[in-house]
Amino acid sequence: MVTKEDVIHVANLAKIELRDDEVEKFREEFEKILEYFDVLDEVPEDVEPTYQVHDLSNVFREDVPGESLPRELVLMNAKHVEDGYFKGPKIMEG
């Protein structure tokens, strides 16, 4: 069961504001999505979790410095810039 409160909580985590009718719409959709996961209940408990769907492992890079981006390009798409910094909202909580 997905409740209205669950939807609002998840929306808050995603910093999204929902109208009441949207909350109900997402509640129904979430419920449907979660139903898909019921299939996992059939898996016996001694099966190792899947962390990656292909067989690759230990893919590494050597510790050799490369080029960073020129700052004009770094800041190019940002709307709010000051003294080479990105400007962001003031947030007190950590």
Binding site: L13, Q52, G66, L69, R71, H80, F86, K90
Partner: protein
């Protein structure tokens, strides 16, 4: 500090220590150079550490090896299989909207750090060690309260970070500080960490008093800060309990300016981070890396302490202090190559260390200003009685403050001790030229001797040893 520092079994402290592996050359998932401290904001960034769409992370092999090295040195169990996860939360220091960290498959479990408390040795046990990327840095123009927005620098974003989590086994702010000091020493021995760089080690502290809720204090950026934040927080919780009120489980922020902790009112809990395996990275099997790293573990502080005692015959009091800083221990060993090690140990620990501390410097500075060979030469002069103790100290100070050549300093300052024959000659001269003082002395006025000593001191511009001079004079007068 007027706060409680002694052991209190009811106070329970656990730490989460974030350590930058800042001796590496590149970030954890991209090739951006790590040496950003002196540089302009947002100049050490690329599509990967900016979280641009389509950019793919690739793990820095040396970072994993450095992490394994730390885990081994902390006696932790390196896991055969380890995975990166996404930790999701919205905060401007993370350009991607999540941090790549580790969750249920961390790099290592367990381990411990031994600290020396007044009650004796104590093992601070560890819960886990995992790898993650450092977030970017937020700054505020003016102060955090008056600024209207934050400025974001992503140079730090993606720096390889270790999170070392202790069990809740510490019982005083002082124990927490001892643990952090020891951890720093170990990390510096491993040559994976430079603690002198800003933000190199950051701490979250969990503290509770039996019967109360657990409070997490976030992001304390100095060792002193940890002790102060904990002391304040313990006093605050005790007050609440004394008044019969409840200590709420919450997250607080340490205000370094006012030395208080402030509630953050954030309600995010672990499940809210919605951890899931990072799909852009593949799992790591550690067996091969572990073998590679095992051969590269250097001598650790405890081993070094025992070796210094055995090899140089120095006391534990000196060995114990020398190993507190690997650079100091190295410096001592180089001096000890050229001069009696016991003499070297006491001068390095008791004098040079103090002079460096006084100047806010460490032994890296000594390597620059007073090389071990130069210090050894100075101590040899002292042993040969060509320079007094006071003279040695004076040369050390001049070398640390101005540099220059040891022999030249001794000569120009007239610090070479006067040979014994010269003192004797001056004593005879003093007696010959001051018949009245001699007569006074022989007549029972023992104070007249001081006058004769003063004559010799004046003639040598203070370089003669007064006690020795008095001895010589007495002997001559009584013959």
């Amino acid at each position: 500090m007027g706060y409680a520092t002694s052991m209190e079994p009811d106070v329970i402290i656990g730490l989460e220590v974030h350590v930058q592996l800042n001796k590496l050359k590149t970030k954890l998932f991209c090739s951006c150079p790590l040496d950003y401290h002196e540089d302009e904001p947002n100049t050490h960034v690329c599509p990967v550490c900016l979280g641009l769409p389509g950019a793919m992370p690739v793990v820095n092999k040396e970072a994993v090896k450095a992490a394994i090295k730390v885990a081994l040195a902390l006696h932790a169990e390196v896991q055969p299989f380890t995975v990166f996860d996404r930790k999701n939360y919205f905060y401007p220091d993370l350009p991607k909207g999540f941090q790549i960290s580790q969750y249920d498959r961390p790099l290592a479990l367990g381990g411990y750090v031994t600290i020396e408390t007044e009650e004796g040795e104590k093992k601070i046990t560890l819960k886990r060690i995992h790898m993650e990327e450092d977030p970017g840095k937020l700054t505020y123009k003016g102060s955090i309260t008056t600024a209207k927005y934050c400025l974001i620098d992503y140079n730090r974003s993606g720096v390889p970070l270790l999170e070392i989590v202790t069990e809740p086994v510490m019982h005083s702010p002082k124990e927490a500080r001892l643990f952090l000091n020891k951890l720093r020493i170990i990390l510096e021995y491993l040559d994976v960490f430079d603690g002198s760089l800003e933000g190199a080690m950051r701490v979250d502290a969990n503290v509770s008093i039996r019967g109360g809720g657990r409070v997490e204090i976030k992001n304390i950026s100095s060792f002193k800060g940890v002790e102060r934040a904990l002391s304040y927080e313990i006093a605050r919780q005790k007050n609440l309990l004394r008044m019969g009120r409840k200590v709420e489980r919450e997250t607080r922020h340490f205000d370094e300016v006012n030395n208080i902790t402030v509630s953050l009112r954030s309600k995010e809990e672990e499940q809210d981070y919605r951890y899931f395996p990072e799909p852009d990275l593949v799992p790591i099997y550690t067996a091969e890396l572990l073998e590679e790293v095992k051969g590269t573990l250097p001598e650790m502080p405890e081993e070094k302490r025992e070796r210094l005692k055995a090899q140089y015959g120095i006391g534990d009091n000196f060995a114990k202090v020398l190993v507190l800083d690997k650079v100091m221990a190295d410096y001592f060993e180089e001096v000890a190559k050229h001069v009696d090690p016991k003499l070297a140990a006491s001068w390095v620990v008791d004098v040079l260390r103090g002079e460096l501390n006084y100047r806010g410097k460490d032994f890296r500075f000594a390597y620059e200003m007073l090389k071990p060979e130069e210090f050894a030469k100075l101590l040899r002069y002292f042993r040969e009685e060509r320079i007094t103790e006071k003279g040695v100290v004076e040369v050390i100070r001049i070398k640390l403050d101005h540099g220059g050549d040891v022999d030249e300093i001794i000569r120009s300052r007239g610090l070479f001790a006067i040979p014994k024959e010269e003192i004797e000659r001056l004593c005879r001269e003093a007696i010959e030229k001051n018949p009245k003082a001699v007569a006074d002395y022989k007549g029972g006025k023992k104070k007249a001797l001081d006058f004769l000593v003063g004559y010799v001191m004046k003639a040598t511009r203070g370089r003669a040893n007064p006690a020795e001079t008095a001895q010589i004079l007495k002997k001559m007068l009584e013959e």
